[in-house]
Every structure is written in C-alpha cells, then in structure tokens.
C-alpha cells in the first residue's frame, strides 16, 4: 500500500518544491513533514496559507488513497481550511486522516502542527474522489 503512495508522492513535484517529505503511511492516516524556508512565506514571514493547504491536502488525499482499491487514483473534490494561528516555526507536521471511506467519496480531516510550539496552525476537512488511474 505504502508503495503506490510513495510513487505518487514522488510525482507530485510541488512537494519537492516545498521541501516536503512523506513521514509515515498507515491505512487511513498519512503524515507529511516540512521545514521552514524563506521562499515559502506570506507578508509577515510565516508560511503562506497555500503552503499549509498544499501539504495538508496531500496528506488527506494519500490517507484516502490508502483505503482505495488497487488501480485507483485520488483527486480532491473540495476542502475547507481554518487557519488558527500563524504558521510560525522551523518545522511543521501535516496529518491527514480518513473519517469516512466510501466507494466513490472519502471524507478526511487533517491538521498542520508547528513542531516547535506544538500549536495546531490549521484544520482541514476535505472530500476526495476515487478515479481510475490514468
């Protein structure tokens, strides 16, 4: 299972652009980690909300894919993100978890934690769809 997720993660060039790496893959739960870089900031020097969203979205998508049948690919249908604290710190962990796994749609919740402070900086609820792998 982890294998196809690791293969897909490598194809997400944007994860490499962000410096994000897959930290763990379990059935229904995926963790991605990310270090701070000056190239990823919003106007006050914190991580841009788009960076946070990108890694939590990938964590949620791969958590969903981990429970889908072989031959599936996963696409994000929609997500909602609450930004609860500035993404301040040197290292961040994004966790995505499946909360409802269906044949077509999977609902996930995810969060981003700033590891220096332990603060949750963002929460996501996402709907993912299983499609045939192209």
């Amino acid at each position: 299972m982890g294998c196809r997720i690791r293969e897909s993660f490598v194809k997400q060039t944007f994860m490499a652009t962000l410096g994000a790496s897959l930290a763990s893959v379990e059935p229904g739960e995926v963790v991605i980690e990310l270090g701070y870089s000056e190239a990823l900031a919003q106007q006050n020097g914190f991580l841009h909300a788009g960076v946070t969203t990108a890694v939590v979205d990938s964590a949620c998508g791969y958590a969903a894919l981990s429970l889908m049948p072989e031959g599936s690919d996963v696409l994000s249908v929609e997500f909602k993100v609450n930004l609860m604290a500035p993404a301040a710190g040197s290292r961040f962990r994004a966790v995505g978890r499946v909360v409802k796994s269906g044949r077509t749609l999977t609902v996930c919740q995810g969060e981003m934690v700033a590891l220096d402070s332990g603060k949750t900086v963002a929460l996501m609820t996402a709907t993912m769809i299983a499609v045939a792998r192209p």
Copy 2:
C-alpha cells in the same frame, strides 16, 4: 491603495517561488496571474491544488485589504475551495472579489481560470480579518 498591496505582495516570497505576478488591483478586486511550471505539479502533471489555493487566497486577501483602512494588514481566517476541473494549461488567472466588507471581517469569493481553455478550475469562498499592521 495599489501601492501597499504591491509592497505586501513583494513580501510574499511564496508568490515569487510560484512565479505568480500581480496583474491588476482595483478597489475590491485583485487579479494574480501564473504560468505553468513542472515544479508545481500534482501526480498527473496538473497544477497542485495547493498552488491554485495559494494564488486565489492571495487574490482574495488583497481584494479585502484594498477596502480596509490605512494601517491594516489582512489575514485569512478560513477558506473553502471547490476544485472543478484539472488545472491543465500553460497560464492561469486568479481573481479575488470582496462580496461583503465589514469592519472586522470581509467575505470574498475567488476563482482560478485556465486561460488556454477558459475553464474555471476552482472556486473559493474566504473570510478575511483586518488586523493592525505589525
């Protein structure tokens, strides 16, 4: 008005990392454009949803800031994104518009259009908050 938005945009190093540029700033409406790059892809080669979210979020945030009093900064409280089509193409335009401007909170709607096809690839609704500039 455009001046403080242009100054803030330059501080968003992540916009430069994405290759995004501020295309227009009007009161209540901001446009950001972005070219495709192989470094911004998800697993099928389309723009990653995090890239789309980043530029539409910045467009919405600056649209909100454009109507806020001098000395304000803007932060994203939350947003919701529907991904309606793969972000396929060579060039993209993100538009953010204020739909309700309040003293504390501003509600914006935004979209990302793939300029080659004319397709809307994503819709955002966002809540922004005015804070004192740090």
Copy 3:
C-alpha cells in the same frame, strides 16, 4: 423537469414545516421563498441559520437535480455557508444555481436574500451527488 422537482419538494415535509414554497424551477436554477415566522428564530428574533441553510440547500439540490438524468435523486455531499447579515425581515428568497454539472457530482452556489432590505444574508457553495432514485 419541473414536475419531478415539485413532487420531491412536496415530500420534503420540512419545507412545509418552515412554510417554504417553490417559487420557480428553471434548468440549473431553482428559487424557494419563505416568510418570517416567530417559530423560526434564533436568540435575537432573526431567522435561525439552520432555516436559512435548509432553504438554500433545497434550492441548490433541486437546481442540481434539474440537470440530472431521469431516474436520479440528489443528495447533499457537503456545503459551506457564510452568514453575512442577520436574517431580518418579513420575506426571504433563496436561489440555488448550478455552476458545474458533472456525471456524479454537481457544484452549486446559492444565496438567501431578505426581500424587504434587498440584503444578501447568506451565501452557500454546495456539492451534490446524483444517486439512483430509491
């Protein structure tokens, strides 16, 4: 087309409980109207957000159903609502519109307007799914 929507609307007993009525059914756009009643209030006497959500959700769902094949039923997958002004007034109009019609999923946007003031009191973005009619 309007016929199956009118039949389904009548089965939504909650619409009758709210005193809501179907005002118009066009392909991709449905309007529901509602009068104020003291039985529908939140703590300050305005319409409860759940009332607003209910009628805009039904308007969006039926807008989606209006473009689905015969034999389909529609279910709400998820929605997001921004409450932009107190739902004050004597009469309200909810409009639901399809913004992206797919084979499985349909994306709609809706709003509730207070007819006395002309103010938009709420905006919704919703994802609807087509299922076989039970």
Copy 4:
C-alpha cells in the same frame, strides 16, 4: 455559565419547533438532542440537512459562548457541513466543541450522531464571533 446558555436556548424558538433540547453544557462543549419527527424530513424520509445543521450549529455556537466573557452574545460567521450518512433513526445527538477560543473569533467542530446506529451522520467546522449582547 450554563444559565445564560439555557436562557438563550429558550429564546431560540426554532429549537422548540424542531423538538430539540439542551442535554448538557460544559465549558467548551455543548450537547443538544433531538427526536425524529415526520415534520422534519427530506424527500426520502430522513432528517433534512437543514435540521441537522441547525442543531449542530446551535451546539457549536453555545460551546463557543460558554468560553466567552459575560455580556457576550455569539453569532455564526460561517460553517461547513459534510453529510456522511443519511440521518436515519429515532433519536439524534449533536455535540459542539471549541477547538480554538480567541478574543473575537472561536473555531468549533461539531457532529451529529444517530443514536440507534451510532453512526456519525454529519461533521461541522464553524467560525463563531463574539458580539456585545444586544
């Protein structure tokens, strides 16, 4: 604390219209229960999504109010609901919990459980705002 929440709940006439009652009030967590009634249905006889939203929204709003200073009232800024299973059954429990309590804004998560089956039928993430009591 429970006192002002119970007083406000009684003013929410819509809760009485739904037959909903306040089951418990703790700092940061409020539970509302609801029995099924034929008057609350969507087209297949399950609880309408607007009913579910109404009670989870009230549970989240009062959870937020429970941590706000005396003299505050609470309003919903926005919420997002994922409908994960048909709201089938005879009795339902809505729980609202504060996940981030701020001076102006409070972020809550809520859920509705069908008590017969134990199934979670809906998840909500909501942003609440503290205002001076009118």
